[in-house]
Amino acid sequence: MLKIKNIHAGIEDKDILRGINLEVKAGEVHAIMGPNGSGKSTLSSVIAGNETYEVSEGDIFLDGESILELSPDERAHKGVFMSFQYPVEIPGVSTTNFVKTAINAKRKAHGLEDLPAKDMLKLIREKSELLEMDRKFLSRSLNEGFSGGEKKRNEIFQMAMLEPKLSILDETDSGLDIDALKIVANGVNKLRNKDNAVIVITHYQRLLDYIVPDFVHVLHEGKIVKSGGKELALELEAKGYDWLK
């Protein structure tokens, strides 16, 4: 599904990713771990299409097609979703209206009519229940005044609404207490199927107890220095990252 070939990327003159290769197939869960500053968030931003980062070399393919030249919204229409480490607050736009706008934008890109209001409401109810979300958050301004945990839950709610092919969860566990973590992980697991894939970016092993990866990759100084199965995460938890440097 996703093929990353020798990606080099950075911000202004600073190189951050120095030749990343990664292949993610449908139905798989990949975890990307690594110490702070190793390039984890840059990798997710580059896949999602954040123009702050410049890709100097390499390519990214989704279902065999290069997405490097596509804008973030075009990538989203093709099924890429990124859950932000720090979701942005947007005062004045309610969560419901935001999600409606996003869904209908995607439908429009696929030549479909707006989703009828009734179906939209049904979908919102269904997915918000999946995430055990308090209804009042839906009518409040997007993420404004939400706690860290509420923001993350809202991210996964949006993921559930948009039904992406490829989801990148960037440090979704940060700011979550254990109960919220379970709910969020449970939501992600329920959304998994043989046709979609998940990349979990995390500093700690904790989240991987709940979202069990098929593969674990360790990122260091902009390169994947080690790949393995889920047991690698446990090893990292026990030994830290130093032994890999």
Partner: protein
Amino acid sequence: MDLQEKLVSSFMVFENQGKLDLDSSVHDIRTKAITAFEKQGFPTKRDEEWKYTSLKSVLKHDYSVFPKVETAIEFKDVKKYFLHEIESYKVVFIDGVYSSFLSSTTHDGYDICLLSAAIKNPKYKMVIDNYFNKIVDKNSSVSNLNTAFSTEGTYINIPKNTVLPKPIQIVNFYTGSEKEILLQPRNLVVVGENSQCQIIERHQSLSDNVVLTNAVTEIFVNIRANVDFYKIQNDNENASLIDSTFVQQKEGSIASVNTFSFGGKLTRNNLEFYHEGERIESHLNGISILDKKQHVDNHTLVKHQYPNCESFELYKGIYDDASIGVFNGKVIVDQEAQKTNAFQQNNTILIGDKATINAKPQLEIFADDVKCSHGCTIGQLDESALFYMQSRGIPAKEAKALLLYAFGNEVVEKIKIPELKSRITKLIANKLGVKLGFEF
């Protein structure tokens, strides 16, 4: 002959034609006003209050000064300029002349009618004597000019303990009957003790001919009365407006003036609030969304003269292309005005590379036990928010519009007439060039 000279000499012609209520006290007021205007002349950029707004380009025209006969307009052609979804009183002028056909006035329990009729009718003499030209700034030459010439406008007099069942719409149309015209509407609003009313005012040019409107409105808000005023400024690019609105509030009253500036070539809004009692609440809200070379100047003054009063001021601006915004918000808290709460906020987003904002908060506080604050921000669109929205599939153009929309929403939320709120929402969406899939 420049416009000032032309106007001064026109005044005599005006007098000779008997248009100036020669036998009423208003005539003396007019004579004083034209003398003052002759002395003061039009403001220039040398005048501190007009430093960022030059009238040069709007004064160079050879304006017709006297309104001619009524031009007929079919309601269906101008329906869209009314808030036609709801019942309302209407006072409509076409090229400065009252249109009885489009209007819907009343004398039943309260008066919503023409100022010219009220000035001539002895029944209203006391109201005119007590209120006409009482709170207009005599140092303002443009207001003096209006006082000297204004023959027409809206007269609203609501006795005590009366809640108007529907809003009042004041609409001034300009048909383009003259190539260049100067219109000077004058409104007088007196709202009695415990009474309430909502007013929507609009100036609308229907042609590409040049129009300069120099409007003055006086609003008297009596004890515990509540007045809600909305100004819709969405005129075409050859229309300019100088609007001066003066509000006097008595004890326990609430008044709000909401200004929506989306169109026009040059717009200058002078808005002044004077407190004459305790426990008064004043609200000043505005949103300006400009592009091309549009220019909007919001000049406000709140004068706190009594203790325990509050004022809330919120002005937002979105400026594209080479448009220019000016915000000058003056708040004066006299020494007697202890326990005053005065809050002022002015937020601007500059989108156009050549867009400009000149913001000047001015707080003059002479009392020591007060809470006063002002905040002024000037920024650009939040890139991280844009990326966030795009990453969810919302295209850049819509994401930008949505963000701008959300930015202005705080002001739109203050509109108390739901149909007007939805209308303003649509005007904003149009101005930002997007179709939004929902309404706020």
